[in-house]
Amino acid sequence: MIKKVLVANRGEIAVRIMRSCREMGIPTVAVFSDADRSSMHVRYADEAYHIGPAPSIESYLNIDKIIEAAKKSRADAIHPGYGFLSENASFSERCKKEGIEFIGPNPDAIRQMGDKITARKTMIAAGVPVVPGTVDKITDYAEALKTIREIGLPVMIKASAGGGGKGMRLVKREEDIESSLRGARSEAKTAFGDDSVYVEKYIESPHHIEFQILADKHGNAIHLFERECSVQRRHQKVIEETPSPLLTPAVRAEMGAHAVAAAKACNYHGAGTIEFIADDNQNYYFLEMNTRLQVEHPITERVVGVDLVKEMINIANGFELPFRQEDLKQSGHAIECRIYAEDPDNNFMPSPGTIRHISEPLGLGVRHDGYVYEGYTIPIYYDPMISKLIVWAKNRDEAIRRMGRALHEYKITGVKTSIPFLARIMEAEAFKSGKYNTHFIEENKEFLFAPHDCDGICEDIALIAAFLEHSSKLEKIKSTDNGSKPAASRWKDPQRVAYI
């Protein structure tokens, strides 16, 4: 039985893991870098150990330092969270060697799913659909035609040596195959000195849909349904929801069965996620497996009614899963928004800084997983995600309205955040109708970034607020001046004049 858990992570996920440990009565140990002494996870834990300088490579990725902290604190288990060492097979192996329970899968499973080619082969063997295509080089037109007909149009022809979009052709019509093949090969030859190409199915309207799985050490595996993660920017998820508005019950059941098969194929235990890419017609293909807890796990917890971290700990303890597949169902609808410290109006540029004021969204159906607080300075070294806002409601429409309401309540000053941008998404027709894919943000830019009509009054009100803020700042400078030196002298100080 696990008696003390070291959480080898920081930020919201460290706090989230410690929450479940506290509810289970298990003491927790935090580790922190130089940049994180004031971070919430250090305050939250029962114990806290410093493990090195701010850069992750010298602290949160430093296996020796983390093992040392575990030994010092006599922690008998380590939860890696997500990111950092969570999918590092050597770390899982090292824990095993040191007699510390790694709350996650075996090193073998991590390795097997970490290598894309091995993972693809494992899935094919397990009967899980993968994106159709060939990695063999194609040099011959007849061969190309045969392969493309097998895969079915549209396809993408890609240069084997390729990259940067060169030697790439999207083929939609059969009559274009020959010319596209010729074009791609000639371009590849010029660019890379190698005219060999390969062919892959082109998913035209891609949906990112993933399945949560849980597997124990006794060979039992179940899925906890899907998460729709197609709202992305810079290939990073922004909003997730469950159930997916795309899936029919039949396809959901089929995908779930494939997800379980995938987990069993690598002798998995713990919590994991099978990522699929799907098109508008619900054709779906295995993309990859994440052998850890996922950022967006709370929407599954809310709709299925399961605490995934507790289940992970129970599995690590050697317990059997407490439910069978048929015990689980999706109840209502959940949405998660990731709140980043970033500037949506400036290409989502990170915006670290000090939090001056927070009004947290509260009330019915709102879960908030965060770690920042007033006066906290977000370090520049780590992820810009500051919290996750999760809502639940009876149905999708109410959940969207609730998320809109929660985002309206959520006010942070000090740093720029994605909150107003996310609020806008909740009003976008394509999102509200549920008919969206991974191109959503790109395709809805005009609506998402359009200014909101406010009869011109909002702008004047904003000006008045700026006036008040700035004039009170000037007053403060003035009164500090008055306190410290005769009033006349201030006019000679160039530093101060600069503020006026």
């Binding site: 410290a341 500037d343 109006d345 400036n346 540029m349 990170p350 915006s351 670290p352 800084g353 001056r356 004021h357 009004s359 007033e374 520049i380 070294y381 780590y382 992820d383 810009p384 309206h408 006010k411 942070i412 000053t413 000090g414 740093v415 720029k416 107003p420 609020a423 806008r424 200014p451 909101h452 406010c454 009054i457 909002c458 702008e459 004047d460 009100i461 904003a462 000006l463 008045i464 607020a465 700026a466 006036f467 008040l468 803020e469 700035h470 004039s471 009170s472 700042k473 003035k478 004049v497 600069a498 503020y499 006026i500």
Partner: protein, 196 residues
């Protein structure tokens, strides 16, 4: 602009403290528009304030650090001020809308009149938009650069940003070193544009 302003409140911005006993006024740029904002009367949080031609009687209350609650004609507005690391620049959020605001002071006006616009607007001065760490500076002072050439790479929060020269020219000065931790709004590299 500033039609109904009281006498003396209009133009001499660098001496506002002198007439502050009568009227406090600021010139503020919001998303490109320059507005004259003049406080006419203040009674606790009840404010009479002129924005260009419009006079507002508004109940304006600071309820937290950078958080203002305004009631105007019965409507309740919530405004959040976000510092931009520079004392005269703010991002102002009024729920859906986000405004870029700059308070114009004597120095700015002087600088603008000399250089015809903020030098950073021409792309010849690279200013850090956020705190971060300098990863690499692939140019040297005196080096000729092309438009689009990378001048400096800054990393923050798992993301690297490359800053490029907007026009061709010569690197005039570099104000950071590789490995430096930098604040927002710090001038990093200045390029002297080539004669056109």
């Amino acid at each position: 602009m500033a039609v109904n302003l009281p006498p003396a409140a209009g133009k001499t911005r660098n001496a506002w403290l002198i007439f502050k006993l009568i009227y406090m006024a600021l010139e503020i740029n919001i998303d490109g528009r320059t507005a004259q904002v003049t406080e006419l009367k203040r009674d606790g949080n009840l404010l009479t304030i002129q924005v260009d031609d419009e006079i507002y009687e508004i109940d304006a209350l600071k309820v937290g650090e950078g958080i203002y609650s305004m009631i105007y004609k019965g409507k309740s507005y919530n405004i959040e001020m976000i510092d931009n690391g520079s004392p005269r620049h703010y991002t102002v959020n009024s729920f859906y809308n986000s405004y870029q605001v700059e308070v114009i002071d004597a120095q700015t006006r002087y600088r603008q009149s000399r250089s015809k616009g903020d030098s950073s607007d021409t792309g010849n001065t690279i200013v850090s938009p956020m705190p971060g760490k300098v990863v690499r500076i692939p140019v040297k002072v005196g080096e000729a650069v092309e438009a689009g050439q990378t001048l400096i790479i800054v990393s923050a929060m798992k993301m690297e940003s490359e800053f490029k020269a907007r026009t061709a020219g010569t690197v005039k000065s570099i104000h950071a070193a590789e490995g430096d931790t930098i604040d927002a709004n710090k001038v990093l590299v200045v390029v002297e544009p080539a004669a056109e």
